[in-house]
Protein backbone atom coordinates (compact mmCIF):
# COMPACT_ATOMS: atom_id res chain seq x y z
CA UNK A 1 0.00 0.00 0.00
CA UNK A 2 2.80 2.38 1.01
CA UNK A 3 4.64 1.44 -2.18
CA UNK A 4 1.59 2.28 -4.31
CA UNK A 5 1.20 5.62 -2.58
CA UNK A 6 4.86 6.35 -3.15
CA UNK A 7 4.46 5.51 -6.87
CA UNK A 8 1.42 7.72 -7.10
CA UNK A 9 3.24 10.55 -5.37
CA UNK A 10 6.23 10.17 -7.70
CA UNK A 11 3.97 10.13 -10.75
CA UNK A 12 2.23 13.31 -9.65
CA UNK A 13 5.56 14.99 -8.93
CA UNK A 14 6.90 14.11 -12.39
CA UNK A 15 3.71 15.31 -14.05
CA UNK A 16 3.93 18.59 -12.17
CA UNK A 17 7.60 19.07 -13.09
CA UNK A 18 6.85 18.22 -16.71
CA UNK A 19 3.99 20.74 -16.79
CA UNK A 20 6.02 23.51 -15.19
CA UNK A 21 8.90 22.95 -17.61
CA UNK A 22 6.66 23.16 -20.63
CA UNK A 23 7.92 25.95 -22.93
CA UNK A 24 4.59 26.53 -24.66
CA UNK A 25 4.26 29.91 -22.99
CA UNK A 26 7.68 31.00 -24.22
CA UNK A 27 7.09 30.11 -27.85
CA UNK A 28 6.51 33.03 -30.18
CA UNK A 29 3.10 32.70 -31.75
CA UNK A 30 3.14 31.76 -35.42
CA UNK A 31 0.97 34.74 -36.17
CA UNK A 32 -0.46 37.72 -34.37
CA UNK A 33 -3.70 38.75 -35.98
CA UNK A 34 -4.60 42.35 -36.65
CA UNK A 35 -8.16 41.83 -35.44
CA UNK A 36 -6.81 40.85 -32.01
CA UNK A 37 -4.40 43.78 -31.81
CA UNK A 38 -6.52 46.92 -31.64
CA UNK A 39 -6.11 49.01 -28.50
CA UNK A 40 -9.28 49.71 -26.58
CA UNK A 41 -11.59 52.14 -28.31
CA UNK A 42 -9.89 51.85 -31.71
CA UNK A 43 -10.95 50.18 -34.93
CA UNK A 44 -10.01 50.29 -38.60
CA UNK A 45 -12.97 52.54 -39.32
CA UNK A 46 -12.05 54.97 -36.56
CA UNK A 47 -8.60 55.47 -38.14
CA UNK A 48 -10.09 55.79 -41.63
CA UNK A 49 -12.50 58.44 -40.37
CA UNK A 50 -9.51 60.65 -39.59
CA UNK A 51 -8.39 62.70 -42.60
CA UNK A 52 -5.12 61.83 -44.33
CA UNK A 53 -2.41 64.00 -42.83
CA UNK A 54 -4.01 63.90 -39.37
CA UNK A 55 -3.89 60.17 -38.72
CA UNK A 56 -2.09 58.99 -35.59
CA UNK A 57 0.97 56.74 -35.50
CA UNK A 58 0.03 53.04 -35.54
CA UNK A 59 1.47 52.66 -32.02
CA UNK A 60 -1.45 54.79 -30.80
CA UNK A 61 -4.02 52.21 -31.87
CA UNK A 62 -2.14 48.91 -32.32
CA UNK A 63 -0.45 46.68 -29.73
CA UNK A 64 3.33 46.86 -29.86
CA UNK A 65 3.46 43.05 -30.11
CA UNK A 66 1.57 43.20 -33.39
CA UNK A 67 3.80 45.98 -34.74
CA UNK A 68 6.96 44.05 -33.83
CA UNK A 69 5.56 40.86 -35.35
CA UNK A 70 4.51 42.65 -38.53
CA UNK A 71 7.86 44.37 -39.04
CA UNK A 72 9.82 41.19 -38.29
CA UNK A 73 8.40 39.81 -41.54
CA UNK A 74 10.56 42.35 -43.37
CA UNK A 75 13.80 41.06 -41.83
CA UNK A 76 14.26 38.87 -44.89
CA UNK A 77 14.18 41.89 -47.18
CA UNK A 78 11.73 44.37 -48.67
CA UNK A 79 10.80 44.97 -52.27
CA UNK A 80 8.51 46.82 -54.68
CA UNK A 81 7.77 47.07 -58.39
CA UNK A 82 8.17 50.07 -60.66
CA UNK A 83 8.34 50.71 -64.37
CA UNK A 84 11.75 51.07 -65.98
CA UNK A 85 10.49 54.22 -67.71
CA UNK A 86 9.85 55.86 -64.30
CA UNK A 87 13.36 54.99 -63.17
CA UNK A 88 14.73 56.44 -66.39
CA UNK A 89 12.61 59.59 -65.95
CA UNK A 90 13.14 60.29 -62.24
CA UNK A 91 16.60 58.81 -61.82
CA UNK A 92 18.24 56.13 -59.74
CA UNK A 93 20.18 58.22 -57.23
CA UNK A 94 17.35 58.30 -54.69
CA UNK A 95 14.15 56.27 -54.89
CA UNK A 96 10.91 56.92 -53.02
CA UNK A 97 8.34 59.65 -52.63
CA UNK A 98 9.57 63.16 -51.70
CA UNK A 99 7.98 62.88 -48.23
CA UNK A 100 10.65 60.28 -47.35
CA UNK A 101 8.34 57.29 -47.68
CA UNK A 102 8.22 54.30 -49.96
CA UNK A 103 5.76 51.43 -49.57
CA UNK A 104 7.30 47.95 -49.72
CA UNK A 105 6.22 44.31 -49.52
CA UNK A 106 8.12 41.46 -47.90
CA UNK A 107 10.57 39.65 -50.13
CA UNK A 108 8.90 36.33 -49.29
CA UNK A 109 5.42 37.49 -50.29
CA UNK A 110 6.69 39.12 -53.49
CA UNK A 111 8.51 35.90 -54.44
CA UNK A 112 5.36 33.88 -53.78
CA UNK A 113 3.16 36.32 -55.69
CA UNK A 114 5.46 36.30 -58.73
CA UNK A 115 5.45 32.50 -58.70
CA UNK A 116 1.65 32.44 -58.37
CA UNK A 117 1.14 34.86 -61.28
CA UNK A 118 3.99 33.45 -63.39
CA UNK A 119 4.98 37.15 -63.76
CA UNK A 120 1.90 37.83 -65.88
CA UNK A 121 1.61 41.63 -65.63
CA UNK A 122 -2.19 41.76 -65.68
CA UNK A 123 -2.33 39.18 -62.86
CA UNK A 124 0.27 41.10 -60.85
CA UNK A 125 -1.82 44.26 -61.26
CA UNK A 126 -4.80 42.42 -59.80
CA UNK A 127 -2.78 40.98 -56.90
CA UNK A 128 -1.44 44.41 -55.94
CA UNK A 129 -4.63 46.36 -56.61
CA UNK A 130 -3.07 48.34 -59.45
CA UNK A 131 -5.65 49.70 -61.95
CA UNK A 132 -5.92 47.24 -64.83
CA UNK A 133 -3.73 48.11 -67.78
CA UNK A 134 -1.46 50.51 -65.86
CA UNK A 135 1.62 48.41 -66.59
CA UNK A 136 0.53 47.01 -69.95
CA UNK A 137 3.42 46.96 -72.40
CA UNK A 138 5.82 48.42 -69.84
CA UNK A 139 9.21 47.05 -68.90
CA UNK A 140 8.96 46.29 -65.19
CA UNK A 141 11.69 46.41 -62.59
CA UNK A 142 11.86 44.93 -59.12
CA UNK A 143 13.60 47.03 -56.48
CA UNK A 144 14.99 45.00 -53.57
CA UNK A 145 16.19 46.33 -50.24
CA UNK A 146 18.14 43.77 -48.23
CA UNK A 147 18.19 45.78 -44.99
CA UNK A 148 14.92 47.71 -44.60
CA UNK A 149 15.67 48.21 -40.88
CA UNK A 150 18.46 50.58 -41.89
CA UNK A 151 15.81 52.66 -43.68
CA UNK A 152 13.50 52.83 -40.67
CA UNK A 153 10.97 50.19 -41.73
CA UNK A 154 7.64 50.98 -40.10
CA UNK A 155 3.93 50.27 -40.23
CA UNK A 156 2.23 52.84 -42.50
CA UNK A 157 0.21 55.57 -40.80
CA UNK A 158 -1.91 56.41 -43.85
CA UNK A 159 -0.41 59.92 -44.04
CA UNK A 160 2.21 58.89 -46.61
CA UNK A 161 2.15 60.40 -50.12
CA UNK A 162 1.50 56.97 -51.57
CA UNK A 163 -1.46 56.23 -49.28
CA UNK A 164 -4.56 56.43 -51.44
CA UNK A 165 -8.31 56.17 -50.83
CA UNK A 166 -8.03 52.37 -50.56
CA UNK A 167 -5.40 52.41 -47.79
CA UNK A 168 -6.16 50.31 -44.72
CA UNK A 169 -4.66 50.66 -41.22
CA UNK A 170 -2.55 47.77 -39.96
CA UNK A 171 -0.04 47.20 -42.75
CA UNK A 172 -1.93 45.16 -45.30
CA UNK A 173 -3.04 45.82 -48.85
CA UNK A 174 -6.77 45.37 -49.52
CA UNK A 175 -5.71 42.16 -51.31
CA UNK A 176 -4.03 40.91 -48.12
CA UNK A 177 -0.30 41.28 -48.75
CA UNK A 178 1.80 42.73 -45.95
CA UNK A 179 3.12 46.22 -46.52
CA UNK A 180 5.38 48.62 -44.69
CA UNK A 181 7.02 51.95 -45.34
CA UNK A 182 10.72 52.79 -45.47
CA UNK A 183 12.66 56.02 -45.93
CA UNK A 184 13.83 57.17 -49.34
CA UNK A 185 16.34 54.70 -50.73
CA UNK A 186 19.75 56.00 -51.72
CA UNK A 187 21.85 54.40 -54.44
CA UNK A 188 23.80 51.51 -52.97
CA UNK A 189 21.00 50.49 -50.62
CA UNK A 190 18.97 48.68 -53.27
CA UNK A 191 19.29 46.40 -56.22
CA UNK A 192 17.37 46.71 -59.47
CA UNK A 193 16.41 43.60 -61.39
CA UNK A 194 14.23 43.26 -64.49
CA UNK A 195 11.03 41.35 -63.83
Amino acid sequence: MKKNLLHLWLFMLMAAVSFSCSDDDDKAPESIKLEDSWKEGWSSQKVLDIAKGQRPAPSVYLDQKYIDFHLAQFNGGATYLVTKSSLDKYGRDTLGYPDNTQFVMTKAEMDAMLTKTAKDISKIETELGIPAGSWKGQEMVRISISDPKALNVRVPSGNEMGANSLWLPGGHLPTGYSEAVINKIPKGKYTETPL
Binding site: K52, T79, Y80, L81, V82, T83, S85, S86, K89, Y90, G91, T94, L95, G96, Y97, P98, F103, V104, M105, M110, I124, E125, L128, G129, I130, P131, S134, W135, M161, G162, A163, N164, S165, L173, Y177, E179
Partner: protein, 74 residues
Protein backbone atom coordinates in the same frame (compact mmCIF):
# COMPACT_ATOMS: atom_id res chain seq x y z
CA UNK B 1 6.46 68.13 -75.81
CA UNK B 2 7.75 70.86 -73.50
CA UNK B 3 8.40 69.90 -69.88
CA UNK B 4 7.19 72.67 -67.59
CA UNK B 5 7.78 71.20 -64.13
CA UNK B 6 8.98 67.94 -62.65
CA UNK B 7 9.45 66.72 -59.10
CA UNK B 8 11.21 63.36 -58.81
CA UNK B 9 8.88 60.53 -57.82
CA UNK B 10 5.93 62.91 -57.66
CA UNK B 11 4.80 64.30 -61.04
CA UNK B 12 5.81 65.62 -64.46
CA UNK B 13 3.85 68.48 -65.99
CA UNK B 14 4.21 69.12 -69.71
CA UNK B 15 2.68 71.06 -72.58
CA UNK B 16 2.15 68.70 -75.49
CA UNK B 17 0.96 71.40 -77.90
CA UNK B 18 0.18 75.05 -77.13
CA UNK B 19 -2.66 75.02 -74.59
CA UNK B 20 -2.67 71.20 -74.30
CA UNK B 21 -1.35 70.28 -70.86
CA UNK B 22 -0.48 66.79 -69.63
CA UNK B 23 0.11 65.79 -66.01
CA UNK B 24 1.78 62.47 -65.25
CA UNK B 25 1.45 61.49 -61.59
CA UNK B 26 3.36 58.77 -59.73
CA UNK B 27 0.77 56.65 -57.92
CA UNK B 28 0.71 53.51 -55.83
CA UNK B 29 2.58 51.83 -53.03
CA UNK B 30 4.43 48.53 -53.38
CA UNK B 31 3.66 48.82 -57.07
CA UNK B 32 4.27 52.24 -58.61
CA UNK B 33 2.54 53.33 -61.80
CA UNK B 34 2.00 56.58 -63.69
CA UNK B 35 -1.50 57.99 -64.09
CA UNK B 36 -1.54 60.51 -66.92
CA UNK B 37 -4.28 63.09 -67.44
CA UNK B 38 -4.98 65.86 -69.93
CA UNK B 39 -6.01 69.04 -68.11
CA UNK B 40 -9.56 70.32 -68.62
CA UNK B 41 -10.21 73.96 -69.47
CA UNK B 42 -11.17 74.63 -65.82
CA UNK B 43 -7.90 73.07 -64.63
CA UNK B 44 -5.92 75.07 -67.18
CA UNK B 45 -7.60 78.24 -65.93
CA UNK B 46 -6.68 77.31 -62.34
CA UNK B 47 -3.09 76.64 -63.41
CA UNK B 48 -2.88 79.98 -65.21
CA UNK B 49 -4.23 81.67 -62.09
CA UNK B 50 -2.21 79.85 -59.41
CA UNK B 51 0.77 78.37 -61.24
CA UNK B 52 2.70 75.27 -60.19
CA UNK B 53 1.30 75.09 -56.62
CA UNK B 54 -2.06 74.24 -58.23
CA UNK B 55 -0.45 71.47 -60.29
CA UNK B 56 1.17 70.09 -57.16
CA UNK B 57 -2.23 70.00 -55.43
CA UNK B 58 -3.85 68.44 -58.46
CA UNK B 59 -1.19 65.71 -58.48
CA UNK B 60 -2.01 64.92 -54.84
CA UNK B 61 -5.70 64.63 -55.66
CA UNK B 62 -4.98 62.32 -58.60
CA UNK B 63 -2.70 60.16 -56.48
CA UNK B 64 -5.28 59.80 -53.73
CA UNK B 65 -8.14 58.72 -56.00
CA UNK B 66 -7.97 58.35 -59.76
CA UNK B 67 -11.67 57.59 -60.22
CA UNK B 68 -12.78 61.24 -60.70
CA UNK B 69 -10.04 61.66 -63.32
CA UNK B 70 -10.72 58.57 -65.42
CA UNK B 71 -12.44 60.59 -68.14
CA UNK B 72 -9.31 62.75 -68.48
CA UNK B 73 -6.94 59.83 -68.90
CA UNK B 74 -4.44 60.62 -71.63
Amino acid sequence: MKEIAKEAWNYTFSEQHPGDYILSVVCGGAGLYDFVIRLTSAQIAAYEREGIPYISRLAEEVRYDQTPFNAQKA
